[in-house]
């Protein structure tokens, strides 16, 4: 199976963080704020799972995002 493309990686992360870490739904008119919000949620997620806290979508973070899991959010909704 080929590794996900950059677009797929972003899509997986955005979907994951929207459903589980309260990331607001992306709007194309506010790309900069969305990027900042995504980095913040990534840090939260990385902290939760004991990953290196970078705020960036690295391979280890993506690997955790692709594991089968419970659909209840990890942070209070």
């Amino acid at each position: 199976i080929p590794p996900p493309s950059d677009t797929d990686r972003e899509s997986i992360a955005e979907n994951y963080l929207t459903k589980l870490y309260g990331l607001p739904k992306h709007t194309s008119s506010d790309v900069e704020r969305s990027s900042s919000a995504m980095s913040l949620r990534l840090k939260e997620m990385q902290q939760f799972f004991g990953l290196k806290i970078t705020g960036k979508l690295d391979d280890n973070t993506l690997e955790v995002m692709q594991k089968p899991r419970c659909g209840v959010p990890d942070v209070a909704a």
Partner: protein, 170 residues
């Protein structure tokens, strides 16, 4: 461990559950046994008692559903999200939904063990949030364990007893 912020715990110790439908992956007896064992995991360490009912509305309504099942939290097909459950409150609170696009099993190692997934979800039904402890049952990602030798990890015992106290009969 972590509990839901707010007063999300049952105010009674005798709770009811109802299995609304079945997955085709397993026999009815296997689903019944998996659910019963999963609830017993929590009953063993608390004063909570679970009684099955076959009609009407139970505190914990259990169903196998796919995709958008109209609770605002659609499932996503095979893998990804396996199940979810709501913390204790009136109405949908306590209910557990299992994604029937998954392949659940009883003892085979193919797919996802329903007992383990259900035991995790019932932790939510009783008021536990996800734990950051990778060894905890309430850790968010699925990890296979043998259901015959399963022992509720200490983190989960501490969590549920912080809400309901210990089982004084044991």
């Amino acid at each position: 461990y972590s509990t839901f912020q707010g007063d999300y715990k049952w105010k009674k110790q005798d709770l009811t559950y109802r299995i609304e439908n079945y997955t085709p992956d397993m026999s009815v007896a296997e689903v019944d046994d998996s659910i019963k064992r999963a609830l017993q995991v929590w009953a063993d360490v608390t004063p909570l008692k679970f009684t099955r009912i076959y009609s009407g509305t139970a505190d914990i309504m259990i169903s196998f559903v796919v995709g958008d099942h109209r609770d605002g939290y659609p499932f996503d097909g095979p893998n990804g999200f396996l199940a979810h459950a709501f913390p204790p409150f009136e109405g949908i609170g306590g209910d557990a939904h299992f994604d029937d696009d998954e392949r659940f099993f009883y003892r085979s190692t193919q797919g996802y063990n329903l007992f383990l997934v259900a035991a995790h979800e019932f932790g939510h039904s009783l008021g536990l949030e996800h734990s950051r402890d990778p060894g905890a049952l309430m850790y968010p990602t699925y990890v296979y364990r043998d259901m015959d030798t399963f022992v509720l990890p200490k983190d989960d015992v501490d969590g549920i007893q912080s809400l309901y106290g210990p089982n004084k009969d044991i």
